[in-house]
Symmetry: C2
Subunit: 324 residues, 2 copies
């Protein structure tokens, strides 16, 4: 059996060798640029690992796996315009390096290219995969819209927040695993379990992102610890704090949120202190663990010998334990 490390290497090579089109260069160069920015490639890797439960012949799974990565990068290109993000993985975003029009149109072509990379799926599976992909892709857009809507709302509930991150992030992880299953030869029930595993764990990952932003080890965390607090980003932690805080604590929290000028470190420490007082850390960890457990439970329920799913389970455990 191939190791996960080898699969990742195969994926990287395949991504580098994938053609996105040539002319006009203004349209296709930004696609090569964003695809070369890197990232952990863990969506297509999940597709390969999921397929590897059912088959050792992964060569027909590569292109569909890369379709998932291309789709993901399409959403990044368009989201970055909407979020006015200047940087992506430490480099200029496409709309900053070129302009918004280029980022819109190159993104459009990327979405079409994602469909194109699914085209060689065998006839019996193509329609089913496309139905699932269309639903997933629409949901990712719905999640982005909800995320934008939440920016101007201060009464977002936990339930609404979880549903937003489910749509924006998790359904694509679910689809990545389900796709691998379908193409590997899983039956419908197993494909559904794989989807649910990805969906649950995706919610866990996003909540862990929220948690690490506040409680991450600065030496290990890739980004600035406290960035979400500084930007008043409506994370799970802030939403919980807003709903739980009362009296002077609520007043203090609102004061920090409303402050137009402040010392960044002071704000991060103060808001983290409020989270500590309200027990937000433990509450978030509990939530994360429950989503991770549910996801891993789905994988354990797959009725195949442990050896077949060992690579996927080990990879998932790594993701669960990451501290950056």
């Amino acid at each position: 059996m191939t190791t996960t490390e080898n699969l990742l290497q195969t994926l990287q090579t395949e991504i580098e060798q994938t053609s996105y089109g040539e002319s006009p260069a203004e349209l296709y160069e930004p696609i090569r640029y964003i695809m070369a920015l890197g990232g952990k490639r863990f969506r297509p890797l999940l597709t390969l690992l999921s397929a590897s439960i059912y088959t050792d012949d992964l060569k027909n799974i590569l292109k569909p796996a890369i379709a998932v990565e291309v789709f993901h990068n399409f959403t990044l290109m368009h989201d970055d315009i909407m979020d006015k993000a200047p940087l992506r993985r430490g480099k200029l975003t496409v709309h900053e390096k070129w302009n918004a029009n280029t980022a819109i149109l190159s993104g459009d072509v990327m979405l079409i290219r994602a469909y194109d990379l699914l085209i060689d799926i065998k006839k019996e599976d193509l329609r089913n995969v496309l139905i699932r992909f269309n639903k997933t892709a629409s949901e990712v857009c719905e999640g982005q819209q909800l995320d934008m809507n939440f920016e101007t709302r201060w009464n977002v509930t936990e339930e609404e927040y979880i549903d937003m991150i489910r749509l924006k992030t998790s359904v694509l992880l679910g689809f990545a695993l389900e796709l691998g299953g379908i193409l590997g030869g899983a039956d419908m029930e197993a494909a559904q379990l794989l989807y649910e595993a990805g969906e649950s764990m995706g919610i866990g990952f996003q909540l862990k992102d929220d948690l690490l932003d506040v409680y991450g080890d600065p030496a290990k965390f890739g980004k600035q610890v406290g960035g979400d607090i500084i930007a008043n980003k409506k994370t799970f932690l802030l939403i919980e704090a807003l709903s739980k805080a009362e009296g002077t604590i609520a007043a203090e929290l609102n004061e920090w949120i409303s402050a137009e000028t402040f010392d960044k470190e002071e704000k991060v420490n103060a808001v983290r202190g409020i989270y500590d007082t309200l027990g937000i850390r433990a509450l978030t960890e509990e939530k994360i663990n429950s989503y991770f457990s549910k996801g891993i439970d789905c994988l354990e329920r797959l009725s195949v010998p442990y050896e077949r799913k060992k690579n996927l389970l080990e990879f998932v455990h790594q993701l669960v334990e990451r501290e950056q």
Copy 2:
């Protein structure tokens, strides 16, 4: 056999009844808005008329035909952002009525919806249709990119211009006809002829648009006659004039193009006068006729009884003779 008028009515009803999604409303409302703005619906009508050459049972062709219209409207929604267009069919464009982010994201979902409307195509045709659709959709984006590139170039050749309008406009008309053929049961050769017919006539239609803008009857032409001249739009006529003008005529043309303040009517009359002097009208009409003839010739070469293609041919002749 159904009349073209009936088919159009059926299409309108189907478009009104098509669901695009509900929640979040910010995402789906703009889709219903742009789809309700109207337009001649002649792309999906071409698909139905093309299919009707081979079959009388058009009910399974309706959704794929509407996919073409949804795709077309997706391109309008995104192009309007890029072109900063304030109005579309006399109403506010989506990015003006809502905002650019909404127009980006709703457009993305429309593109996904277009794929979704193709999903019920029967297994034997699905892959082939998707390959052709992906290629067409990418080419439409390429055409839009070229169109934007041309805005800042003054040395666009006739050949480059024709290729740009072929990509931006004509390939989708080709695909609309080809799609109807494939779904109706045409063989590969016939499907290819239908594609070529649409591609050729599409170029003719765009050149006719360019011509009518300058020489249209104000009483019949929907838009302001001379709008392209006022905006220095690089149409076929301007490109030809720029390449043919010499000496004082070239100087006069360049003066009008460079003028920052001018009387609109005076500019339109002066540039039209230059076109007259250079014989641009006759040259353009000749070009239009040659593309129309080539397109109609493709339809005539289809080896089916005349009765079967009568509706399509009559509709095409109407389009050719339109003066608005």
